[in-house]
Subunit: 345 residues, 2 copies
Amino acid sequence: MSDNEYRVAVVGATGAVGEQMIKYLEQRNFPVKELRPLASKRSTGKTVMFQGREVKVQETTPDAFEGIDIALFSAGGSVSKAIAKEAVARGALVIDNSNAFRMDPEVPLVVPEVNPEAIAQNKGIIANPNCSTIQMVVALKPLYDQFGIERIIVSTYQAVSGAGMNASKELDAQTQAFISGDQVPTQILPVGSLDNHYQLAFNVIPQVDVGQENGFTLEEMKMVRETKKIFNDDQIGVTATCVRVPVQRGHSESVYVELKQDYQLEEVKDLLAKQPGVIVQDDIEQQIYPMPLETADRPEVFIGRIRRDLTHDRGLNLWVVSDNLLKGAATNAIQIAEAYIASKR
Amino acid sequence: MSDNEYRVAVVGATGAVGEQMIKYLEQRNFPVKELRPLASKRSTGKTVMFQGREVKVQETTPDAFEGIDIALFSAGGSVSKAIAKEAVARGALVIDNSNAFRMDPEVPLVVPEVNPEAIAQNKGIIANPNCSTIQMVVALKPLYDQFGIERIIVSTYQAVSGAGMNASKELDAQTQAFISGDQVPTQILPVGSLDNHYQLAFNVIPQVDVGQENGFTLEEMKMVRETKKIFNDDQIGVTATCVRVPVQRGHSESVYVELKQDYQLEEVKDLLAKQPGVIVQDDIEQQIYPMPLETADRPEVFIGRIRRDLTHDRGLNLWVVSDNLLKGAATNAIQIAEAYIASKR
């Protein structure tokens, strides 16, 4: 990476997040010398549009990373585990959107607004946190700095696109079939790899990712562990209930946070409004609050319903919404790349 | 009410809850001598089916309550305020499903599984609690008795039928229009009487009922105040975030409860499983948990995702689902009537 333009590979280029990564690289005017879209063998031959040109999708093989400076991975944990280190061995910086390396002590887990300093510790791989974690820690960062955080209790309202493009299509197909009175297809949701599949259309499913022995789901435990790692603070208490709702794009979160110090509500609102990457939409009497339909396709984290908790003096309630494919995935990954480049200058 | 059969009026007989009340009176074999369906002038001339016969809907006037023993009101707060006392004056027991009298110190607020003893204090009116409150207190009752409750933090996932039949129809129309690429109708949701209306299809709206000066919505404050009144305990802390989701029937709730004493998880599960009116569906590894689509049209409260909180020793997380039109409204009202009758024998 000696000059100011970069050869960028996107692994999982035809997936829900990969698509957004390519779109976002273009929108942000990321200094791309060459875009190399990679995917499974099945997708080779397809093309993606980038800067007005069609670019052919290639198969994700070790050699496909020859000459690559930055490899953005978003093809699931098993692909990342199998091949990310091959990319690193060929000189690429890997920014990985899967769960493969997030809790690896050798791998920094980065949200640029929260812990950009962790980027410097990378040994070739930087992990992008889980979508539901990213938007929450962006919202909580200024409160953490100002007051300290004792604990967090979060309930999520997660969009189906977090489960991938086929899950998105299944919600559409379910909705159409349900309205028409046809047999509702249930082959993917809530978790493709598990045995039982349920209708999400006109329903909510209190399961995101696989269940664990402790009664929580993997998604819930990601929020717990990743939040501690990103804030570099094992003392933060986090408990989560993760729920899939029939929304295509945009995760919403009902967040209860117990601060370490007393606070004034106006100070909290000011801090949130000043936080880079955050937009406050908060006036219930005027019916102003964020909703996933309005925040889709926007890169910021939106916060509303900011109010003093009724059960604890240092408790605070927030409603946090963000596009899970953008700040929750593609945007954050590319912001990591930008912060990395800036740190090398 | 001298014999064992009763003349029953249903006010709001053509509404979402009124319809369920009539259906449920029939299903439960409630001892109905005469069913008198009442509604606004606009609905007179319509008929409802009861025990295989068509019964004409009459206008809700004071004189319509002549001879009535039990009047089930579910036509909104303004109708209840205007006319419930006329029914009482004519000798009827009023069971009111609106918000009109719930916090009136003269009016008991009753969930038969929780505080049946309050029925005896009535002076002609018994209030049925808000749908989101009912299912939560049924779930928490055995825990309250066994351990005491310090505080509750609840986030809801509420079905559109809670906003009435026209709101239900609007969600269907929105969904159909959105899928077809047509203009999405937004005239009712989230709150018909307010200025701003939003799409709920493929969205979530963090507003149920009108906003208040303290930043909470009326729905949220109902959960706070009613829970304290039903448990007859002003010391219980309650904070709520109430959210409308694109579901037709069945409210879901992510409930964090902080008990007053240490607990064993198995004991909690046993207590919940033994509680009348509760069905436990709890095994995340087997993908067993309640969902609104599966619990619609069933009168019980369903509980799953039962797990020890990760941030507090006495904290517990529950996922509580129930049909908002049944246990959340019609079923509870008729159970109050049954308990009242039993208490008079």
